[in-house]
Amino acid sequence: MLRHLFKLIWNKKGTHSLLIVEIWASFMVLFGVLSLIVYNVSNYVQPIGFQYEQVWNLDLAHNQDTIQEAEKIQRVLQRVRSYKEVESASRMSGNTPFSANQSSGGITYNKVEVHGDFYASDAELSKVLDLPLISGRWYRDEDMIAKFVPIVINSKMQEKLFLNETALNKVIKMDDNRYFKVVGVVDRFKAKGEFMSDEPLVFEMIGKDNKWNSNILIKTRPGTDAEFEAKMVKDIATMLPGWGIEVSYLKDSRLTRHNITLVPVMIFLIVSGFLLTNVALGLFGILNLNIARRKGEIGLRRAMGATEGKVTNQFLGEIWVLATFSMILGLIFAVQFPLMNVFDLASSVYVMAIILAIVIIYLIVTLCAWFPSKQAARIHPAVALHEE
C-alpha cells in the first residue's frame, strides 16, 4: 500500500516538489516558534519559590556623599523596621528580584567549577521573601566569623557543585581571606520571574559595615498604600540629604519582566499563525483542485468495488506520505539544534518542539485533505466515468 502511494507521488514529482517545499518551510517555522514556546512554558510551570506581593524595593544611591555610607544605610534600615506598617525588611544587593541587574561569577569546590548568580543579603531576606529552606537554616548575624562568610545555595547549585552530596557545612575557599560556609539550601529562587530557567545561585551574607549593597527590600502589611510610602520617603530624605531614593513594587517590576519575554513571543505567534493559516488555505485549494481533477481514477476505483472510505483513505495516505517526506527533510535541519547545542537550550526542549511541530503539520494536512477527498469519494462512478 505504502509503496503504491509512494509511486503515485513519484510519478508527479514535478507538481509535488513545490508542495514539499511548502510543507518543509511550514515545519521549520513551526519548529522555531514551538522551541521558543516550549522553552518558556517549561520554565513557567516551575514555581519561582518566593513571595513578592507585598514587597517593596527601596533603592538608595549615595551620589556624592561618601562619608559613613554603611552606618547611614544601617540607620535607615532600623528606621524602616520601626514602622508599624512594615512586617520585615532586609538589605540586598542591586540584583533585586525582577530587576534588570545581574551579578554572576564562578565558584569552585573539589575541582568542580560552577557558574552561577550571586545575591547578597542580610539575615532577614528569607523572612521578607518567604523563602522556604529545604535543609539547614538561613544565615544569622552570629554566623559571620572572621574569614568565614555564611552562604545559602539553591538545590540546583547543590546538585551541580556537590554532585548531589549534602552541601550543609561544606567550606568553599574563594581566596586566602574569604571562605564560604554553606548553612542552608533553598529549593528555588527564580529572581527574574517565572520565565527564567532554574539556574544555580548563591546567597552570601553582607555585614553591617558593607556600603555597596544599598537596596532594602520591605515587606509591608496588607493594605499599606502610597500615603505611607510618601511619609517613609520623606523621612528617609531628611535622614539622607543628597541621596537618591526610589521605591518600586516587586509586583510591578514582575509585570515589566514578563512583558520583555511575552511581547516577542506574541509577535512570533501572530506572524507564524498568519503564515500557517495562509499555508492551510493554500493547501486546501490545491488539494481541492488536484483531487477534483482525478475524477476518472476515482470513478474507476469505485466501479471496481472500492468503498467511499477506501478512496478517502487513499488521498489522506498520499498527503501523509508527502508530509512525512517533507518533514524528514525538515528533521535533517532540526536535529542539528539539539546535536550542536545551539542557543544552549536543553535538548528536551527541541525534541518536544519537533514532536509538537510534527503533530500540528499532520493535523493541518489531514484537515486540508479530508474535505476534498470526502467530497470526491462521494461521486457516483457512473457520473465520474461518463465525463472521461
Binding site: 511548502e22 551620589n63 510618601a230 503564515l275
Partner: protein, 413 residues
C-alpha cells in the same frame, strides 16, 4: 493591450471567489505584516520627534573597558567629565550635548504616587533635540551656572501632578524632598526614543546628578550634532583621534584595563553595537533577520505559486485558442505576469488599508505612550517594491508553464 489584460484578470478574479480569497488573503496579510514591521522599525530608528536631527547625529553611549586577556570586561555609560573632555571639544561638530542615561524617581501628591523618569542635561540638549515647548522655555547656561533648581516637565506629568491643561510655569514640583521650579512644559515623547525620553528634565548642576564623578564610567551619554550628514565621517575620525590619544595610565582607570573602546556611531549602528560586539555576531544578526524575512515572504509566495500552478488548466482553453491564432509564447508570458502584478497590487491596496488600521490601533492602544507610527513615503515605497517582487515571484513560474502548453493539449481539455 494592457487594459485588456487587466480586464481579463478582473474577470478571472470574479470567477472563483474562493481562490480569489486565498490569493488576496495571502498577499494582503503578508504585505500588512511587512508594512507594519517596516513602520515599526522606522519608528525605532528613523528621524522623529523629539530627535528631529537624528539623521545627522552621532551617539556616544557606551564606554567599554577590557583587560588584555579579555577575561574581564566592563561597559556602560560614560562619566560627565570624560565626555566634556573628549566629546564636547569636537571641533568639526555643530553642537554637542551631554545628557544622563535614564534614571527613575517617584513623586507623591495627594496620597497618589507618580512614577518618574528623570534626566539631567546641559543647555545644548534643547538645541540638538527639537522639543516642542507648550509653555515656558528651556533652561540656559545661566541657570546651569547658578545651579538653579529648575525643571522642564512633559505635558503628561503636568496633567498628573497639577491640573489637566493648566498653566504651570513658575509653580513648584517636589521630587524626593527637593523643590524645583517648573520653567517649561514640553510635549512628551515615546519611551522608544530611549536617550531623550523622560518625564522631567533637570540642568546637570541640580542635586543628585552625579556629574562630579571621576574616572571614565558614569551615567552620561553624548549626542554629537553634525552640520550636515556628510560631515559624519570627519567627526568620527576626530573623535577616534581623541580616544586614541588617551594615555595608558588613564585607560587603566584604577584597575587592570588595557583596552578602551568608545565609539561615536549613528543611532542604528550604536544600537547594533550594544548587543553585537564583533563582525561575526553582526553577520549572525543579519542572517537571522534575512532568514525571518525569507520565511515571512517566501512561504506565502510558494503558496501562491502552488495555487497558481494548480490553476493553469482552468485557463487551458483560453491559452489554446490564443496560441492557435498565433500568439507567441512571450506575449502569453507577459499577459500572465501583468495579471499577477495586477492582483498583487489589489492585495497591496487591501494591505495598505489593513496596515493603516493596525497602526492606528497600535497608536491608540497606549501600548507605547505617544506612539507616532506612520506609513511615511519611504515605508510606502518599500511596500510597493515588495508588491512588485511578490507579484513577479509568484507569477513567473506559473506563467512560464502556461505559455509552454501545447496547443492540441490545451484545446483538448
Amino acid at each position: 493591450m494592457l487594459s485588456n489584460y487587466i480586464k481579463i484578470a478582473w474577470k478571472v478574479l470574479l470567477r472563483h471567489p474562493f481562490y480569489t480569497f486565498i490569493t488576496l488573503f495571502g498577499i494582503s496579510l503578508t504585505l500588512t505584516v511587512l508594512m507594519v514591521i517596516t513602520s515599526f522599525l522606522d519608528h525605532l530608528f528613523g528621524t522623529h520627534y523629539p530627535e528631529v536631527n537624528r539623521d545627522r547625529s552621532l551617539y556616544i553611549g557606551t564606554v567599554l573597558q577590557q583587560d588584555s586577556a579579555h577575561t574581564s570586561m566592563s561597559s556602560g555609560p560614560a562619566a560627565f567629565g570624560f565626555l566634556v573632555k573628549h566629546a564636547k571639544s569636537l571641533k568639526s561638530a555643530e553642537r554637542v550635548t551631554i545628557l544622563s542615561n535614564f534614571s527613575f524617581s517617584n513623586t507623591y501628591i495627594h496620597g497618589k504616587k507618580i512614577k518618574l523618569n528623570t534626566k539631567f542635561t546641559d543647555a545644548d540638549f534643547w538645541y540638538v533635540t527639537g522639543f516642542q515647548f507648550l509653555e515656558g522655555k528651556p533652561y540656559n547656561e545661566a541657570n546651569i551656572k547658578n545651579g538653579d533648581q529648575v525643571a522642564v516637565i512633559t505635558d503628561a506629568l503636568r496633567d498628573q501632578y497639577f491640573e489637566k491643561g493648566a498653566s504651570v510655569v513658575g509653580k513648584n514640583i517636589e521630587i524626593e524632598n527637593v523643590i524645583y521650579r517648573v520653567i517649561g512644559v514640553v510635549k512628551g515623547s515615546p519611551p522608544t526614543r530611549v536617550y531623550t525620553y523622560s518625564d522631567v528634565y533637570f540642568p546637570y548642576t541640580a542635586p543628585k546628578s552625579n556629574y562630579q564623578d571621576k574616572g571614565m564610567r558614569g551615567r552620561y551619554i553624548a549626542i554629537v550634532l553634525a552640520k550636515k550628514a556628510s560631515d559624519i565621517p570627519e567627526i568620527q575620525a576626530e573623535f577616534d583621534n581623541h580616544i586614541g590619544s588617551i594615555s595608558k595610565e588613564e585607560i587603566r582607570d584604577g584597575q587592570q584595563f588595557t583596552v578602551l573602546i568608545v565609539r561615536a556611531d549613528r543611532y542604528f549602528d550604536h544600537f547594533l553595537n550594544t548587543f553585537a560586539r564583533d563582525d561575526t555576531q553582526k553577520a549572525l544578526f543579519y542572517s537571522i533577520i534575512g532568514l525571518v524575512l525569507l520565511m515571512v515572504m517566501g512561504l506565502p509566495a510558494i503558496n501562491l505559486v502552488n495555487v497558481n500552478v494548480s490553476r493553469i488548466l482552468e485557463r487551458a482553453s483560453e491559452i489554446g485558442v490564443r496560441k492557435a491564432f498565433g500568439a507567441p509564447s512571450k506575449a502569453l508570458l507577459w499577459q500572465f505576469i501583468i495579471e499577477n502584478v495586477f492582483i498583487t497590487f489589489i492585495g497591496g491596496m487591501f494591505a495598505l488599508a489593513l496596515s493603516l488600521l493596525v497602526i492606528s490601533m497600535i497608536n491608540a492602544s497606549g501600548w507605547i505612550a505617544y506612539a507616532d507610527l506612520t506609513i511615511n513615503f519611504s515605508v510606502f515605497l518599500i511596500s510597493i517594491g515588495v508588491c512588485l517582487l511578490f507579484g513577479l515571484l509568484s507569477g513567473v513560474l506559473p506563467a512560464f508553464r502556461m505559455s509552454r502548453l501545447k496547443i492540441a493539449e490545451a484545446l483538448k481539455v
